[in-house]
Symmetry: C2
Subunit: 143 residues, 2 copies
DNA sequence: CTAAGACAGTCAATGTATTGACCAATGGCA
DNA sequence: TGCCATTGGTCAATACATTGACTGTCTTAG
């Protein structure tokens, strides 16, 4: 019965995060999009209008430096575009290209399917409870 | 009251993992050790004897290629050593150096303190339940 | 006993993620 | 008005993490 040497909660979260991205990657592979790129496209898609780079970074809780790089890749791949913000000369306005929107709309069902398969044979209640605890930990650690 | 735009469980786990490593890093900073390096030292410390590189990789659920690189850094920093395994010419035997063992013993209390502060003002029961659900997800996703 | 497959380790390429340092623009406050 | 802290964005350095491709050793089936 194993008795796995008792994985620490911290180690567990990190390992689970790695596993999730590892297993999620093939879902988007046909569109040549990585899970993180998918996440950015999702944020942009659900945001109505253009967003600043910093706003996207905050919403995903990554550093703006990281977002600079990811956005550069996304732009080079033709999924998103940056334009100057006339109201704030420091800022950029990031929007999805038509191709970006088409890609995310095509991939969303695949993601949903994968996502619900993930929760199968686990209790809905347990998942919701875990999600809530995770939210609390995030809130506690976030600045 | 927020009503955070409802974070997906998957996104939550990934963001939490990033936050955890980000907040954990300063705990080990004085010893110039990263959280992942700490994790490897921990595994080696608790393993009794020497381990193969692949065994460490499996125990942390990372690829052996990644472990190659991390181990190279650890060796260069003087925390671990590799020797040929006389029983299997493919394999290496990795052990902690005296410095590695001293470092982990010095850092463990700091980690424990950080770790218990993390769980403060959260319910023990909720944390345990979340840990269990995380284990189930890991088991489901692991090969 | 030999050929096929599995496994240990490495290298290279790419993507993710951090800190630190920096510049330009903004906003508040004296 | 003018200073100064904050914020938006970038660059560089480093670490983590994956896949793919490869060498060499072991194991096992025929």
């Amino acid at each position: 019965m194993a008795a796995q040497p008792e994985r620490d909660l911290v180690a567990g979260v990190i390992q689970l995060a790695n596993l999730l991205t590892r297993r999620l990657a093939p879902v988007f592979e046909k569109a040549r999009v990585t899970p993180q790129q998918w996440a950015i496209l999702s944020v942009l898609d659900q945001s109505g209008g253009p967003m600043s780079l910093a706003a996207v970074a905050r919403s995903m809780m990554v550093s703006k430096q990281n977002m600079t790089g990811m956005m550069a890749r996304l732009e080079q791949l033709g999924f998103a575009e940056r334009a100057d913000d006339p109201e704030d000369l420091r800022s950029s306005r990031v929007i999805l290209t038509r191709r970006g929107r088409a890609t995310i709309e095509k991939l969303r069902p695949a993601y949903e399917e994968w996502r619900s398969a993930l929760g199968a044979d686990l209790s809905e209640r347990d998942l919701a409870a875990a999600a809530k605890t995770i939210e609390q930990l995030i809130a506690k650690l976030a600045d």
